[in-house]
C-alpha cells in the first residue's frame, strides 16, 4: 500500500495553492459580501492554469491528469474560497463530464473541447421545485418536433446558472414511460430562443458562486443536442453525480482545512490569562479533533478519487466521502468559530464565511440524509 502523492500531484497542489493564496484569497471576503462572481478570476484564470479540463484527454482540450488531481485542485481552491471551488467542480464534473462520458464525437468537438479549454463555462440542470433528491419527479418536458426538441419548464438552484454558456438539462421526453425511464438529457446553449434566466438565489454561503433559476419557454434545440440516448437521462444524471460527489467532497475538505489552519494560527496568537489560548486543554483538544477528522476525510476523498482514476467502482466511496467530508466541514468550521470566540462571529475574520459555506456541502449533490439512506440500503440488501 502506498499513501504517497506522485511528484505531479505535489507540484500541482503547490501551484494551485500558490495561485489561490496570491490571487483568490485577497478578494474572497469582498466577493462573498457583494455576492459577486468574478469570471476572470474564478474561471478564466483557472483555464490559463490548465484546470478547467483536468481529467479530460489532451485531444479534447484537457490536461490528461487523473481524478485525484481534480480533487486536489478543488480542495486547494476551496481552502481559501469555497465559491471558486464549486465553480470549478460544477463546471468540470457536472457540466463537462457528461459530454465526455456520453457525448457523440461531434458533441465532444462542439461542446466538450471549449469547456475543457475554459473558453465556455458549464452547468448541469437537474433540480426542480418538485424534483430534488427525487430526480424521477422531473417535470420539465421535451417534445420531439421534426428535427428539434422543444423544452418547457424550469430548473432551480443551478450552480453557474446565468454565467454558464453550456447547460446539460434533464427533461421528461416520454410522459407515458415509467418515472425514471422517460427522462432524457439535452445540451442547451445560452442565448437559445426560449431559454431565460429566472431569479438569482440569495444564499447563506458560497455567495460569490451564482445560483440561478432556468426557464424554458418553448425553447427549441436541434435534435442533435440530445445527449446519449432517448430515455437515458436518469442514468446519465446518476453517473454524473457519482463523479460530482468527489468534487463536493474535496470542496468540503478544503473548507475544513482552511478553517482549521485559521483556528490553529489564532490559538497560537490569542492570549487570555497571560497565555496563548492553545495552552488551555479545552482549545487544544478541539484542534486535535479537528485535525484528526480532516485527516480521515482526506483519506476517504483521495481514496474515492484514486478509485475513479483507476477504473474501479467508486460510487459508494464517493458517497461516503461526500457525506463524511461535508459533516466534518460543518463541525470543523463551527469549532473554528468557537476558537475565535466573538471575533469569529464577525465578518472581520474568514471563519464565519467558511462556516456558512460549509453548510451547503451537506445539502447539494445529494443531501447527507439521502446518502445515508443509499449507503445503508446497500448494506442490508
Amino acid at each position: 500500500m502506498d499513501f504517497a502523492l506522485h511528484d505531479e500531484h505535489k507540484l500541482m497542489r503547490d501551484m494551485v495553492r500558490d495561485f489561490a493564496e496570491t490571487e483568490v484569497r485577497p478578494s474572497a471576503a469582498e466577493r462573498d459580501e457583494s455576492e459577486r462572481f468574478d469570471r476572470h478570476l474564478m474561471f478564466e484564470r483557472l483555464a490559463e492554469l490548465g484546470l478547467t479540463g483536468i481529467i479530460f484527454p489532451e485531444e479534447y482540450g484537457g490536461a490528461g491528469a487523473d481524478y485525484l488531481s481534480y480533487a486536489i485542485a478543488v480542495e486547494e481552491l476551496s481552502r481559501v474560497c469555497a465559491s471558486t471551488g464549486v465553480t470549478l467542480s460544477a463546471h468540470l464534473s457536472l457540466g463537462a463530464n457528461p459530454l465526455y462520458l456520453f457525448g457523440s464525437e461531434d458533441q465532444k468537438q462542439r461542446f466538450l473541447v471549449p469547456l475543457a479549454r475554459g473558453e465556455t463555462l458549464g452547468a448541469f440542470a437537474l433540480t426542480e421545485s418538485g424534483a430534488g433528491s427525487d430526480a424521477g419527479g422531473t417535470r420539465t418536458t421535451a417534445v420531439r418536433n421534426g428535427d428539434s426538441w422543444i423544452l418547457n419548464g424550469s430548473k432551480n438552484f443551478i450552480t453557474n446558472g446565468g454565467d454558464a454558456d453550456t447547460y446539460i438539462v434533464l427533461a421528461r421526453s416520454d410522459g407515458s414511460a415509467e418515472k425514471h425511464r422517460g427522462i432524457s438529457a439535452f445540451i442547451v446553449e445560452k442565448g437559445t430562443d426560449g431559454f431565460h434566466f429566472g431569479k438569482k438565489e440569495r444564499k447563506l454561503g458560497i455567495r460569490s458562486s451564482p445560483t440561478m433559476e432556468l426557464v424554458f419557454d418553448n425553447c427549441r434545440i436541434p435534435a442533435c443536442n440530445l445527449l446519449g440516448e432517448e430515455g437515458q437521462g436518469f442514468k446519465i444524471a446518476m453517473i454524473t453525480l457519482d463523479g460530482g460527489r468527489i468534487g463536493i467532497a474535496a470542496q468540503a475538505l478544503g473548507i475544513a482545512q482552511g478553517a482549521f489552519e485559521a483556528a490553529v494560527n489564532y490559538a497560537k496568537e490569542r492570549k487570555q490569562f497571560d497565555q496563548p489560548i492553545h495552552q488551555f486543554q479545552g482549545v487544544l483538544f478541539k484542534l486535535a479533533d479537528m485535525a484528526t477528522q480532516i485527516e480521515a476525510a482526506r483519506l476517504l476523498v483521495y481514496q474515492a478519487a484514486w478509485r475513479a482514476g483507476n477504473g474501479l467502482s467508486f460510487a459508494q466511496q464517493a458517497a461516503m466521502a461526500k457525506m463524511y467530508a461535508a459533516d466534518v466541514a460543518m463541525q470543523v468550521t463551527t469549532e473554528a468559530v468557537q476558537v475565535f470566540g466573538g471575533y469569529g462571529y464577525t465578518r472581520d475574520f474568514p471563519v464565519e464565511r467558511m462556516m456558512r459555506d460549509a453548510k451547503i456541502t451537506q445539502i447539494y449533490e445529494g443531501t447527507n440524509e439521502i446518502h445515508r439512506l443509499v449507503i445503508g440500503s446497500s448494506l442490508v440488501r
Binding site: 507540484l11 500558490d18 490536461a63
Partner: protein, 254 residues
C-alpha cells in the same frame, strides 16, 4: 543552437518549524515540505524567457541532492526547461560551496553553455558563493544580484541591486554566469498541462561519486536557532513621526 543552463536547489518550505539535527550541524529533514529555492525560481523564469526570446535554444536544469530533488527538477521542466540533470548526492547538505561549485563546473565545462543562471543564494545555507565560484572555476564573468536582465547577440546588459536600493548598470559578453535576485521577474506558474508534459521530458541521473571533489575548505561546527527575544519594536511619537519611522523600516527591509 545556443545552450543555456540553470542551476537550482531544493530547500525546505520556509514556513516549516526547523529543528537542529542530532549532531548539531544541520536541520532535521523529516516531516519537512520541500520547495524550489525562491531565488532559483527567478533564475528559471529568466532562463525560460531568454529561451523564448532566442527561439532556438536548449535549456538544461541541474540540481544536486538526494532522490527527492527530482520533484523540484520537474517543476523547472514544467516551467519550460527542456531537459533535467539530477546529480544524485545524499551528502550534498554537508558539502561546502566550493565542492558544490566544482560539481557544477565539472558538468558545465564540456558543454559550451552560452549562459548559466543561478539564484543569488539559497534560502537555507545562504552562502551566496556557489554561483560566483562556478564562474571562477570556468573562467567566465559573473554578474550577481540581478534585478534587470537583457541579452542581445552575445552581450548581457543588466542591473545589479546594491545596498540601500541603488542600482548599477553592468554589461559583459557571453559566456557568463548570472545570479538572480528578488524583483528580477515574476516566476510563472507551472500549469497543469505543462506539469503533465514535463513527465515526458528527459531527466538524467549522474552519480556524484564519479567526480573528483576538492577537499572541504569549510565545515559547519554548530548550528543553533537564534535566542528568543522580544520581537516587537514599538514606534513612538505623533502620527507623522511614526509614519516616517515606519516608512524607513520598510525601506530598509526592501
Amino acid at each position: 543552437m545556443k545552450k543555456l543552463l540553470v542551476c537550482i536547489k531544493q530547500v525546505p518550505d520556509m514556513e516549516s518549524r526547523f529543528k537542529v539535527n542530532t549532531d548539531g550541524t544541520w536541520y532535521e529533514e523529516t516531516d519537512l515540505a520541500w520547495r524550489m529555492n525562491e531565488y532559483d525560481e527567478y533564475a528559471v523564469e529568466q532562463a525560460v524567457q531568454l529561451k523564448e526570446q532566442l527561439g532556438e535554444a536548449e535549456l538544461t536544469v541541474l540540481c544536486i541532492g538526494p532522490d527527492r530533488v527530482k520533484e523540484t527538477i520537474k517543476k523547472a521542466l514544467a516551467m519550460g526547461a527542456d531537459r533535467g540533470v539530477h546529480m544524485t548526492d545524499n551528502e550534498s547538505h554537508l558539502r561546502d560551496p566550493l565542492a558544490i561549485a566544482s560539481m557544477i563546473a565539472d558538468f558545465a565545462r564540456q558543454q559550451d553553455f552560452e549562459l548559466i543562471f543561478t539564484g543569488m543564494q539559497s534560502q537555507d545555507r545562504g552562502s551566496a558563493q556557489v554561483g560566483v565560484l562556478v564562474a571562477e572555476l570556468l573562467g567566465i564573468p559573473a554578474l550577481t544580484t540581478l534585478v534587470e536582465f537583457a541579452y542581445d547577440q552575445g552581450t548581457i546588459t543588466a542591473k545589479r541591486e546594491l545596498e540601500g536600493g541603488s542600482r548599477a548598470l553592468v554589461s559583459c559578453s557571453t559566456p557568463a554566469l548570472v545570479t538572480c535576485q528578488l524583483g528580477l521577474n515574476r516566476p510563472r506558474y507551472p500549469t497543469l498541462p505543462n506539469i503533465m508534459k514535463a513527465k515526458k521530458k528527459e531527466l538524467a541521473s549522474l552519480p556524484v561519486t564519479d567526480l573528483k571533489l576538492p577537499p572541504a575548505q569549510l565545515k559547519t561546527a554548530a548550528m543553533a536557532p537564534p535566542p528568543k527575544r522580544g520581537s516587537a519594536r514599538i514606534l513612538e511619537g505623533d502620527t507623522g513621526d511614526v509614519a516616517a519611522q515606519l516608512a524607513a523600516v520598510i525601506k530598509e527591509k526592501m
